[in-house]
Symmetry: C2
Subunit: 415 residues, 2 copies
Amino acid sequence: MQAEIITIGDEILIGQIIDTNSAFIGKALNSIGVSVYQITSIQDDKQHILKALAEAEANADIIIVTGGLGPTKDDITKHTICEYFNDTLVRNASVTENIKRLWRDYVKKPIQQVNLDQAFIPSKAKVLMNLVGSAPGMWIEKNEKVFISMPGVPFEMKALMQEQVLPKLKIKYKRPFIIHKTLLTYGMGESMLAALIEDWENNLPKHIKLAYLPNLGKVRLRLSGKGFDEHILNTEIKKQIETVLPLIKEVFAGFEEDGDLEVLIAKELTKSNKTLSIAESCTGGKLAEIFTQHAGASTYFKGGIITYATQTKIDILDISESLINEYSVVSKQVAEAMAVQCRLLYKSDYAISTTGTAGPTKGDAEAEVGTVYIALASKKGVFSQKFELGNNRARVINKAVNKALEQLKKEIFKN
Amino acid sequence: MQAEIITIGDEILIGQIIDTNSAFIGKALNSIGVSVYQITSIQDDKQHILKALAEAEANADIIIVTGGLGPTKDDITKHTICEYFNDTLVRNASVTENIKRLWRDYVKKPIQQVNLDQAFIPSKAKVLMNLVGSAPGMWIEKNEKVFISMPGVPFEMKALMQEQVLPKLKIKYKRPFIIHKTLLTYGMGESMLAALIEDWENNLPKHIKLAYLPNLGKVRLRLSGKGFDEHILNTEIKKQIETVLPLIKEVFAGFEEDGDLEVLIAKELTKSNKTLSIAESCTGGKLAEIFTQHAGASTYFKGGIITYATQTKIDILDISESLINEYSVVSKQVAEAMAVQCRLLYKSDYAISTTGTAGPTKGDAEAEVGTVYIALASKKGVFSQKFELGNNRARVINKAVNKALEQLKKEIFKN
């Protein structure tokens, strides 16, 4: 049971947007036992779409197409799909109703003819009703294969995928179980890690694969198993994990499937009824944003303060000017003072702070670009760590965020 | 002159990571006049890699492969490339030196044999020296076509692309000019916009294409032109823009190529020597992060405060408890008080605030999920706007950020 994902749109090929839809679809298909053979991003061009559909039909059982269904002239997907299936476009009454409802309840502006015309679909297609947008999804079967077309707007595609495509695929096909279990490790390089677990890796059974995914100071180890008995597969993977964990216990931080680090931290804080606040300098709000992107953050997250300018550290966080003058704004002493003051200000159980030079220039600091101090304050006191994170701004910020999460997780799971 | 990008890695197909490399490469190639025909993401599998290379060779002149070059066992790319070119792997002395240097200067741990073995490359390949990682880039020519292989770690790929691949491609091929100019519009839907500019669009010359890119309350209109005379092309596109601008002046916010909204705002604030601070509730640090991701933010950005818990609005921003009780925490009055107090606290020229319910539940607020107030304070006073942004948490946060940027830009460019 294999799928191919085709994304249509010059905006992807010229790098104007990043294709996030395919990752979402790939993950969703895996969750119901469907492997993705290939992801192909192609031009808004009839011949190219026809060629990609034919190739995908040869490779896969399920072909999922996103993009190219908007109301405007640059969208040729629907006509091309029609041609591919030797079909004609017909106006669909229930899609027309849906579009009218959307305009009446949400858009509240005069409806355009181009929007009403979005109700034209190939006669052979079943409608996947798009309740949050005017472009309908389509489901077309041909020789036991299924072609699914969805709009490219991410939240419309996601709703269609979850509410209609996955349930329908589950009914139509018998599928194996695919289980991924990903061990998050921090602080050791890929090759060191590989050397540590070499014997274990060589003894993995054939239907369980291991992959290394290194990124910014963390390496993810992904075990992927495939089989028709979910229970046996789970037991096998569990056994493999029990064998490898003692080998990597120094650097193991959790399982990705349990959520990213901030999710693990959030769960633990919520469970233990503890609160967090954040004082950021070089990470500029990114650390707070990592927590607040998830629902339920208000249960444990009191808030944060971004003291970007040096003077605001003095004025708002009440860091003493002489401390900054003596040790410089990027220093262990200032990081620790920030965490302590932030904890008092927000009356939180934990406070974490970052101060560093993200680059490309040093700003007010004496420290080299890439130097970051991260401090953590709790009722037990305060401690900090120094990091050298290179000279690429985005990398320094992201690595500092990862290091802060790592430090915080270690501390709160200790208690 | 066409290119195909191939990304290798199961992690992309199972949706564990989002492929950001291809967008970067696509944009970089466009900047030197090379069009991308297709982006193909494939499995870590020998037969699949061979098939993709053969298909890409048929489609394109330049084939760029990323991924699959790490030190561990899941990487088979290099062996497969060797097979594709009937070649053998040989140890490259300068790559060996580079790896030893990296370990001596940065890793500072014992070097592993698997890392030293990364110096093996196909004998026909020219090395693209990777100065920031152990996996070398490779450049292989065959019948006037060129195959380029780079590691998948984004910052390594980016350095190779900018410092080696682009300069070499510029020398090797005569290329046309590709010019994209993208008009950012806010506050009008795709179909309304299309109706407004229909006549103009129908009269565009054939070598200038228009695309609509709608996303979260903004629609980007991209004009793409291709030709061998840069001057003529620029003049034509400029003329088209002069024609369309009066039609969309109500919703036009700037050109994407001049930078995103926050970049335009940052430039203007820096130029006029004004400062900004931010008080966030529902956007949780995202608005500050948008600004601080760019170098130079410290010139104008004083800092921000995230008052996530209601009590912190009272304690830290000094919003009166009775105001919150009377109007609720998500209200015009509280948004405006947040902006005013933030401006005083940070001593900034402008302060912008957000308060709303990102969902999925209402929290402390009385307002419905998706209701967001955004206020802007300056020496002229304070004003605010109310928005209803739907019921998807990520969407509410991102739309609120876009609305705040839009509001801020309007205000600072007015002065």
